[in-house]
């Protein structure tokens, strides 16, 4: 409930109060639940040498994709970011990629 209330960008319409529920109902849409790929596929080892796996979690510019977008769970994101940083250090992944 709190989630759906925070979502709509109709802050300007809200002060009227009375039709708040209607507004939130109108704004409702479905979002697919994200799941952690490492949990689902049972990948225990997030290795810095596995460039193919890591490159899936790196944006075009070489940035680490935030977990609010990729859906990776916190413990795995921690290991993932460690691995990506190691891979950057040995020139397997770029620090900053040119498009």
């Amino acid at each position: 409930m709190a989630e759906s209330r925070g979502r709509p960008g109709s802050a300007g319409q809200r002060p009227t109060g009375g039709d708040k529920a209607v507004a939130t109902q109108k704004k409702q849409y479905f979002r697919r639940k994200k799941v952690c790929r490492f949990c689902v596929e049972r990948i225990d080892d997030i290795n810095y040498k596995d460039v193919r796996l890591l490159s899936g979690f790196v944006a075009e510019r070489g940035k680490i994709v935030p977990r609010r977008i990729s859906g990776v769970c916190a413990p795995h994101q921690r290991r993932l970011s460690d691995a990506i940083k190691k891979a950057r250090n040995i020139a397997l992944l770029p620090f900053a990629a040119s498009i």
Binding site: R42, D44, D45, Y48, K49, K86, R88, N89, I90, A91, L92, L93, P94, F95, A97
Partner: protein, 144 residues
């Protein structure tokens, strides 16, 4: 003794023999300090993600060895001094390996339990059904 992994990049224009020679040389560094080399892999020429010392590609070499911390120091010193090596990374992996081993064991155990338990719950459920089937039958005579 700890297990380490060493990944280093050599200049792309080094001749093959020199690379092999260097690998042998580094192996002796570990073995001389009573360590053991578990793995010495040559990945071959790869493109670098960014330019290192004006090189756009390099020859990757992976070492895995079991040695004392002092040996690693010496190993790294050698790499730093060598003109052929442009970049290196040392990672201690014994703790990671241990953790992975534990995870795998747990997973195997769970899978094993599931495999043995899978038929087991099926039987109780069948017997439960039988019980469930018998239960209404039982009260009925009592009610009568």
């Amino acid at each position: 003794m700890r297990i380490y992994e060493e990944l280093f990049i050599m200049k792309p224009d080094t001749p093959e023999e020199e690379i092999d020679q260097f690998i042998e040389q580094m192996k002796t560094v570990v073995t001389a300090a009573s360590g053991s080399v578990d793995k010495a892999e040559k990945w071959g020429k790869r493109r670098l993600a960014y330019r290192v010392d004006k090189y756009r590609e390099g020859v990757y070499v992976l070492f895995q060895f079991n040695a004392a911390p002092e040996t690693v120091k010496e190993f790294e010193r050698r790499l730093r001094v060598s003109d052929l090596v442009i970049k290196f990374l040392t990672v201690r992996i014994d703790q990671t390996l241990k953790r992975l081993d534990k995870r795998k064991k747990e997973r195997d155990k769970r899978a094993h339990r599931k495999a043995t338990a899978a038929p087991a719950p099926a039987q109780p459920s069948v017997s439960q059904q039988m019980l469930g089937g018998g239960a209404p039958g039982e009260p009925a005579p009592v009610a009568e």
